[in-house]
Symmetry: C2
Subunit: 270 residues, 2 copies
């Protein structure tokens, strides 16, 4: 089911700036038993990402109503919410009275086996290096060609995700997930001021980590540092938390902390 | 008039990867008196850009037929040709049998006054710095948020274009044009191996310059170098050639070479 500006539809205008320029942002979240998970947090992030691009984000009332209409039809699904700068004339210039477009789409929840969350995932080390653009860093915008090209690097069903580094060699994120590494009582995650997407689950883990007695450090992380961590884990709103069991020749056998974090995230779901 | 996969339409699927990820490429060219200008060169570039993203480009016969149908309806217009990776399921992974989407759109030719080409244009020096991504450099893909954000930097009808630098401070291009600078018998243009779009008119100028007794040098160019050039000019398929008359406090009064290059480009049009 697809809602385009509140109306059931399977079409958008080819003149939409979302298509022309990738001029928009998006969110992906699960609906379980008719309830959108972490929707308030996703709405806050959607608003922040719209603000970064100076797009007027649709209101809570509008999006909440449409999301709930979708969730009522499709009680267990993945919902993607896209907000674009709307339809425009040819050329980059943004007309003064511009109306955002909103597109809400439901699709089947991905059928990840439980073993991925229990026993961990194999991760490909991508050769593509993320570019530095501070004005877009952190934002989940529609310019996702780097993720598309990175995802083309492997075609092996045993590999669940790819790890991305930047041009300086620092690790940043997965193609569709954020990244944490633990060492002692500290949970490390890459700082995302120059590239990467700062996802909602990353934010939640950072906020909730003290409950597990962990301090959080957001900083540049080298690949060597990551490979020497006690545990490495990936997160996003659909996978929850996946421990990493293999990356770049290194393997991890214990995933106790990843399991604790995963259970904490589920327990705290709205 | 809009043709989507050969059919007159004002809609595309919201599931098109062009919208989801900016996963596609485009061209813009003028149609004058029913004839698409430099269309063979644009087709070659479209194919090269599709290849960079591993998209199967539609054939010459298909695109040429659709372009000529558009040009027959609208004998003086700007045509935008968009090729995307086509419709897909949620997620970055590219299904094995993927069919590209093609969208051809006509819009009115921009009404640039002759004085821009004759007396030159004022150019804003953008503060946004283009990011380095060698895998996408040169390609006119649909991830154009940097151009959108750069174009937001000014709102002054007297300023016709913005000049973009990269993170190293080298000048690269305009938000919608390529850049040349002349010094003695040499025409300099930024090398585009890490960022920027290598446009068709830039390629034509580089190929034709020897006819004017000019050698061409494609290299890193600093802003200082640009500001000390004898002439600076911008090009794209809709503007042709614009001399720069003012940029970053520097002004240029003579535009003889820009005029020669502009006339040469028009004379050689297919």
């Amino acid at each position: 089911m697809i809602l385009v500006n509140g109306i059931v539809s399977d079409s958008i205008s080819p003149l939409d700036r979302g298509l022309m320029y990738g001029d928009g942002v998006f969110r992906t979240l699960p609906v379980r038993d008719g309830a959108p998970i972490c929707w308030p947090q996703h709405f806050v992030k959607l608003g922040a990402d719209c603000a970064a691009l100076k797009i007027a984000c649709p209101s809570w009332d509008v999006l909440d109503g449409e999301l709930k209409a979708l969730a009522a039809q499709d009680r267990d699904c993945a919902v993607k919410i896209v907000v674009t700068r709307g339809q425009g004339a040819r050329g980059y210039v943004v007309p003064p009275a511009q109306h955002a477009s909103r597109i809400l789409m439901s699709s089947p929840l991905p059928q990840y086996t439980d073993s991925l969350a229990e026993s961990g995932v194999r991760v490909h080390l991508c050769s593509l290096r993320l570019s530095h653009q501070p004005l877009l860093a952190g934002v989940k915008h529609l310019n996702r060609l780097e993720s598309v090209l990175a995802r083309m690097e492997w075609d092996d069903a045993e590999i669940a995700e790819g790890l991305l580094r930047d041009g300086d060699g620092n690790v940043v994120e997965g193609t569709m997930s954020n990244l944490f590494a633990s060492q002692g009582d500290t949970l490390y995650t890459p700082e995302l001021s120059r590239c990467g997407v700062a996802g909602v689950q990353r934010q939640r883990i950072m906020a909730l980590a003290p409950r597990l007695g962990l301090r959080v450090s957001e900083q540049c992380l080298s690949l060597d540092f990551l490979l020497q961590a006690e545990e490495v884990l990936l997160c996003n709103s659909l996978i929850g938390v996946w421990p990493v069991k293999a990356l770049a020749g290194k393997t991890w056998a214990r995933h106790d902390l990843a399991h604790k974090i995963r259970h904490m995230l589920y327990a705290e779901n709205d």
